[in-house]
């Protein structure tokens, strides 16, 4: 691969208490891949993303985005948190949440204008949520809330997208709608990194995969490394998936 490296992680170690949750992770994510991060619950997938985005401070190691530290490259990165990380009873509307994706480029104090609103409406349209723009967010279904988060990331108009379980609790048609959006992002040359739990769909959806369980088990093209050996190493049990060609 002679491609540019979008995200480079070196010797990353993270702990909440004394026990490391991520141990000495080295990871290179090439530009333009649609990558799945897989691993069991508690493997540190969310922690990895949070450390890359500077939400958590690692004990050791470094992260760079296109060769520079994250702080200098924020505008290139968008984030979809795990849905359960916020209170959906918060008094605000779907449109308002999506607008938050524009706050980064606005910076301190400046108010969103018509331009930001237009961008937010477009993003809502893309995820098929335009009819719900004025809904209070607690009155959306789980899958709809997930789409709102996706729209908020789209409005950030980034080069690299980190998504923590965007398929969590969505039905089959929403899942297809979301994956199509992700594939469109890849087609536009963006890099998309997705925490994913459904191993069956990995070969179909993604072209790149990272196995993670505290340590990095393997990373590379799905067709080369998505096999029973790596799955067993990651999940600890004798794992067999039937990969349909």
């Amino acid at each position: 691969m002679s491609k540019k490296i979008a995200v480079q992680i070196d010797d990353l170690t993270v702990a909440y208490n004394y026990k490391p949750v991520l141990w000495d992770i080295d990871l290179e994510i090439p530009e333009g891949v649609l990558m799945a991060i897989v691993g069991p619950n508690g493997a540190g997938k969310s922690t990895l993303i949070k450390s890359v985005l500077g939400i958590l401070k690692p004990i050791a190691g470094s992260v760079s985005i296109y060769g520079k530290p994250y702080e200098k490259q924020r505008s290139l990165v968008a984030y979809v948190p795990q849905k359960g990380s916020v209170d959906w009873d918060f008094p605000t509307t779907a449109l308002d949440v999506v607008m938050m994706g524009t706050y980064g480029s606005l910076g301190w104090i400046k108010r969103p204008t018509q331009k930001e609103k237009k961008a937010a409406l477009e993003a809502l349209e893309k995820v098929g949520m335009l009819p719900f723009k004025n809904r209070q967010i607690s009155q959306l279904s789980g899958g709809q809330q997930q789409r709102i988060f996706l729209a908020r990331a789209l409005v950030q108009n980034a080069s690299i997208y980190f998504m923590d379980e965007p398929f969590q609790g969505v039905d089959a048609s929403t899942e297809i709608a979301i994956i199509n959006i992700l594939k469109a992002l890849r087609k536009a040359g963006k890099t998309v990194i997705v925490v994913h739990h459904d191993l069956q769909t990995v070969p179909e959806y993604f072209d790149w995969v990272t196995f993670l369980n505290v340590k990095k088990i393997a990373t590379g093209p799905v067709k080369d490394i998505f096999n029973d050996d790596n799955l067993t190493k990651t999940y600890g049990i004798n794992y067999k998936v039937s990969i349909q060609e």
């Binding site: 208490n17 209170d87 918060f90 008094p91 605000t92 980064g104």
Partner: protein
């Protein structure tokens, strides 16, 4: 004393006017800031801050012997801030649950404060500065300068709120995301928290350590019931707080000088009660009414759909059928049949019913309409 008389008095009587203004402003600022505490699910924060302020008052009195409320409140501010940032530290360093940290600091500081108060009271020459007014509040001791101070703090607070509105809102909803965008979440957080501390300390003289947190929580909890927009919530919360202050003062002044602080808190509580019962979207009452109405409509629709399916089997949709065949249908009652007749969906003829044209049309559109109405 009747109402007009009282209102006249508010405008003419200096003391009453001062107290009314003071409690109104206090209610507004605590209500406004309370929205943030409520939305962050930090209900104990107000309690912790007000209790943490007590030792500051006692220590300043012990050192300076001052009786001037502004000096004492400075002590309260310092110890309130220390307590609050101690709590923050505990939460972020030890991963204790925030309730635990709040409760811990609350009891620790309050215990220490009470210890100092009893010590002061035992001093022979202590001029018994009436420090216990900070426990339960004494609105009657408010003077014009106190009110000015409250007004200035409220004004600054309002300006900051408007200036950093977008940042506050985003932090409250999703602090991790806010961080990834490059906003200094710690700064925003400290800003909000400091103002909450300031507002609470200003209220100690009026409402007291013990009841102060109700001033923070009650108006916000009430306001939350009426709106799904943060801006409206903050505004309503300030309004409820201010009204509680004004009404509370009125009640206590007209009823033989009942203690003002508790009355204000009770009135704020009444706002909460009314809001939880009567709010159109979230209130218990309308929820129940809507629930019953939806059930009825649904029963009606189900019966109509059932009849539709029977009528469909005949070429002539108005062909009469026996009522008996409906009896097997779950949810069918004489009442629903009557209603369908009233709506002119169904015609009755002795023991026989038949669908009208309108009924047929409504029934065939029922499913489509329902899905559309959901949007």
């Amino acid at each position: 004393m009747d109402i007009t008389e009282y209102i006249m008095l508010v405008f003419t009587d200096y003391t009453l006017r001062t107290i009314t203004l003071g409690t109104a402003i206090l209610g507004a600022v605590t209500g406004m800031l309370g929205s943030f505490a409520v939305l962050r699910k930090q209900s104990l924060l107000g309690d912790a801050i007000s209790h943490a302020a007590l030792p500051g008052i006692a220590i300043v009195f012990l050192i300076t012997g001052a009786k001037d409320s502004n000096v004492l409140l400075l002590g309260a501010l310092v110890s309130g801030l220390i307590g609050t940032f101690w709590i923050r530290g505990i939460i972020s360093k030890t991963h204790l649950k925030s309730d635990t940290a709040l409760g811990l600091i609350l009891s620790l500081f309050f215990g220490f404060g009470m210890l100092l108060l009893t010590f002061i009271q035992k001093q022979p020459n202590a001029n018994q500065a009436g420090l216990d007014k900070y426990l339960f509040g004494q609105a009657a001791t408010l003077v014009e300068s106190d009110v000015w101070l409250m007004a200035i703090v409220t004004g600054i607070c309002l300006m900051i709120l408007l200036l950093f509105w977008k940042e506050f809102k985003m932090l409250l909803f999703d602090s991790d995301f806010t961080k990834t965008l490059g906003f200094n979440t710690k700064f925003i957080d400290i800003l909000i928290t400091s103002f909450i501390v300031l507002a609470i300390v200003l209220g100690l003289q009026t409402v007291g350590v013990v009841l102060m947190s109700a001033m923070l929580l009650a108006p916000a909890a009430a306001a939350r019931q009426w709106t799904n927009r943060l801006s409206v919530m903050v505004f309503l919360s300030a309004l409820f707080g201010a009204f509680s202050g004004v009404f509370g003062t009125a009640v206590s002044a007209s009823q033989n000088n009942l203690s003002t602080g508790p009355v204000i808190v009770i009135i704020a509580g009444v706002f909460v009660l009314i809001s939880f019962v009567f709010s159109p979207s979230r209130g218990l009452l309308f929820k129940q009414i809507r629930f019953i109405k939806n059930r009825r409509d649904l029963q009606l629709h189900k019966t109509l759909a059932f009849m539709f399916r029977i009528a469909e089997t005949h070429e002539n949709i108005s062909h009469p059928h026996s009522i008996k065949i409906l009896n097997n249908f779950q949810g069918f009652t004489k009442g629903t049949l009557q209603k369908l007749v009233q709506k002119n969906y169904v015609q009755l003829n002795g023991n026989m019913w038949s669908l009208t044209r309108e009924g047929y049309k409504t029934a065939s559109n029922l499913y489509n309409q329902q899905t559309e109405n959901n949007e």
